[in-house]
Symmetry: C2
Amino acid sequence: MTNNTPVTLKFLAEKLKMSVSTVSKALNNYPTINEYTKKRVQEMARDLHFTPNKSAINLKEKKSRIIGIILPNLLDHFFTRSIYGVEQFATQNGYNVIISQSHDDLEKEIQSANMLLRSRVDGLIVAISKNTQDFAHLDQFENMGIPVVYYTRNPSFNLSCHKVLGNTFQGCYQATKFLIDRGHKKIAYLGGPKMINFTHDRFNGYINALKDNQVPFSAELVAYTDFDKENTITAIRNLFANPENMPTALVAFKEPILFDAIKYLRSINHPNFDEIECIGFGNTSFISYLDSPPIASVEENPESVGENAIKLLLQLINKEIDIQNYQKVMVDCKLIVHG
Amino acid sequence: MTNNTPVTLKFLAEKLKMSVSTVSKALNNYPTINEYTKKRVQEMARDLHFTPNKSAINLKEKKSRIIGIILPNLLDHFFTRSIYGVEQFATQNGYNVIISQSHDDLEKEIQSANMLLRSRVDGLIVAISKNTQDFAHLDQFENMGIPVVYYTRNPSFNLSCHKVLGNTFQGCYQATKFLIDRGHKKIAYLGGPKMINFTHDRFNGYINALKDNQVPFSAELVAYTDFDKENTITAIRNLFANPENMPTALVAFKEPILFDAIKYLRSINHPNFDEIECIGFGNTSFISYLDSPPIASVEENPESVGENAIKLLLQLINKEIDIQNYQKVMVDCKLIVHG
DNA sequence: TTAGTTTGTGTTAGCGGTAACGAATTTAGA
DNA sequence: TCTAAATTCGTTACCGCTAACACAAACTAA
């Protein structure tokens, strides 16, 4: 069944004894083409399984209807869920999506960017790798007039770019407030890598919730870790070191890290283990399988973050917003109480 | 800094007062071009940030150096891990990857297929949706001479296609054998949706392990479920219903389902709960957080499945294997004993 | 000196579409 | 009946890039 001669407009035109342009217009439903002609062409196209060559169209139209996404990895559910939001909305508007993982490596991020540039994507959504300090590979896009929207992980110091972020301040504030309302006075805070920009926003949410509710702040109740389990255990050990200042609650920057913390506290038979109430960012489905689950989760609404990113990007592509008129969109978190 | 006139070969040629073809050949390092000319061209291209237009190249070369992947979703770690294998190897060989989710919906799968066809991918890797019965949208590719490799989820009845599969028979055999070796005589089997083709292979692995080790088979110890928690609980209740034939071990087709099962058994205070040993497919990282973790996991090596799929696909693209010479590649599972 | 090579560059056609423009035929209006 | 306006389709140039082929200049060999 393999057909050797590819089915192109030219091929159809010859079969139908018409010109290529008539065939093209008929397939694109131009009003200047006779209805009967259209019907003949469309039937022939269907029967011969004509598939327009996107490269040819891109070349002519000078646009690809492709959105590029660069993100650190696909193993983090935050990112995969955010893609869902992007894809959904992009598809509805006739755009396709190319996803490229940087694996948190700057070199790979540069490669991905160059690849997407060569593919002439109409826009780019990017969550930068944790080592990205120099932005030349991403600035290229704007230099060529291709809009870029940074989401989640973004160059925090740079105001001259479009951003869509989870309102991590509000999420952390809400989590802390929730614990305060349940009567906790000693709430520990376990922060994430200081390189990731929203780490500080979360801490501010924590601090502000304490302040607004007259709960005294204690530097002993704050520690930082990263994705390394050993570091998490060290941090937790420090947080729970002083018997005079023992936390009864914990806010952690990401759920898997929180699980490590909980596991450790249980493993050392912490005397008040059962009373300790924890909250982490993420709301992973695995919570239901834990024996000592967190009391609540901060749902970051990744789908909504993705959707807002693509919405903004499409407005930039369609020139509804000027590319120089830099936008910052915040997506609120939601506290999910388990039980 | 936004430059209005796009930097094309023509633009470079005018700047350098040379012909377009000389510029093209210089950039592609043709031996017939003078070294000094090459240097001049390449420097100018670099300084002006020339980025070749992939659409133009695709159109001319009649190949895109793009591999399409269609899979049900990105939330399942099996798929995201398999992508890692594909991407790694594809990139090394100068190919880019477009990922498209079908969300286990046939209609979306068809849309994805058509999109990738229009993009003229050089090859397709696909894990079909659970409703895919008709393959017209995928057969189009082979009709146009574009090779297709089915991986994991494939049309089991169809021998005329290329397949790369996890050796789920061997994985299940090994898991069952492991439990037998630990002295279990009553090993329950919790299977997955019967529509998914490898469900039967797993069951056969279970059966064969029993047979090879003279453990009597009991139909009461076999049940099926899907991704719905209620159905899993019903299935587990049935498996553990007969006091005369009470399982002491369990093999489950996927870990999250196994976790549901374990959770249920614990919730009903099953008398021998602590003695029951379980194994599921998946080897998810969350196991370390469980209080009653499975004794072992069947690691399906998704990265390796992905890598084998792309390797086969590239061989087909390069005509090292004839497209009609249908291949079937099996990737072994590995039993990971937790400790 | 002449002819054949080598070397380096330009000319040109074409990949598969789109659409402005032109041209022929039909229809409508006076 | 004659002209203007629709209607319908074809001609053509172009998008950015590749590469076969042509061609001129310089070099080599006889």
